[in-house]
Symmetry: C2
Subunit: 187 residues, 2 copies
Amino acid sequence: MRADARRNRARVLDAAEALFADRGASVSTEEIALRAGVGIGTLFRHFPTKEALLEAILMERVARLGEEARSLATAADAGAAFFGLFSRMVEQAVRKRSYLDALADASFDSRIARSTVGQEAVQALGALLARAQSAGAVRRDIGVPELIALVVGASQAAEHAGRDDAVRARILQVLFDGLRPVDRAPT
Amino acid sequence: MRADARRNRARVLDAAEALFADRGASVSTEEIALRAGVGIGTLFRHFPTKEALLEAILMERVARLGEEARSLATAADAGAAFFGLFSRMVEQAVRKRSYLDALADASFDSRIARSTVGQEAVQALGALLARAQSAGAVRRDIGVPELIALVVGASQAAEHAGRDDAVRARILQVLFDGLRPVDRAPT
């Protein structure tokens, strides 16, 4: 991809992400093109359908998640690195869930799982988890499938709790306590 | 409502619940009427829209949940009663989620919360939780809002785990360990 095409693609993605987050998936592609400062033809060349656009945004998030997990791979406190990333994943998912729900189906999950960024993210998450387990901060009987399912579940639980921050904090605390080794000392 | 009208209503609900569970919310009302052995006019008199039918099914589940919670109110082992009901709620939610998703929005949540069966169910759940807390089986810093959000989250996590029963079991185990008092003995 040429540099200006790459730049246009990134601008469309940024504009779409901001508009979707503000007003949900019903925002029109015309409005996204306008906000991005590109013509509608340019937008459609990169993303022929709105679904393609949503999928690209989600794929970018997976890529960023993988990067963040890799950047934490040598953190001094492996437990804090793990629980910190877990919290941020839940926070992000709650903020963006409204417009990404449409994509959260099994077929998309499997497309992510097969993609390179998806596999890299899973690998990085697995490394972070293994390190937190070795450090005695996380129980040893869970793997990446449990971790991802728990993040999905925690996001849904947090969203259900709505704007009550205290309820959300206690939900995460229950989950984090459950993730600690079973014979842990009181926290 | 007359006895035969009540009977017809119950038959429509049973037929709809079975068909929805098998094949999702796209099942036609004609097919539901056929399975229930009532005319389509009878069905529409009780449930003018498919949404009304779905909502009635969900409301029935809330009523049954309330009944079950009340029936456990004097169980010998308050902790086992609590965790058993939690597991069954998650199991049920996973089995029926596919067709109830459409309704799982905030406006429906608040209609349930305002309904008599909803309030009775919340009260019975709260009593069960308080008893399990008094028995030292459940941490004391959570209430019914956390409990409901955690059931919703656990259901979503279990569904995400798909057919892998071992992953689902470990997810519930993480949650249950997290729900125990923090200074609990090793289990």
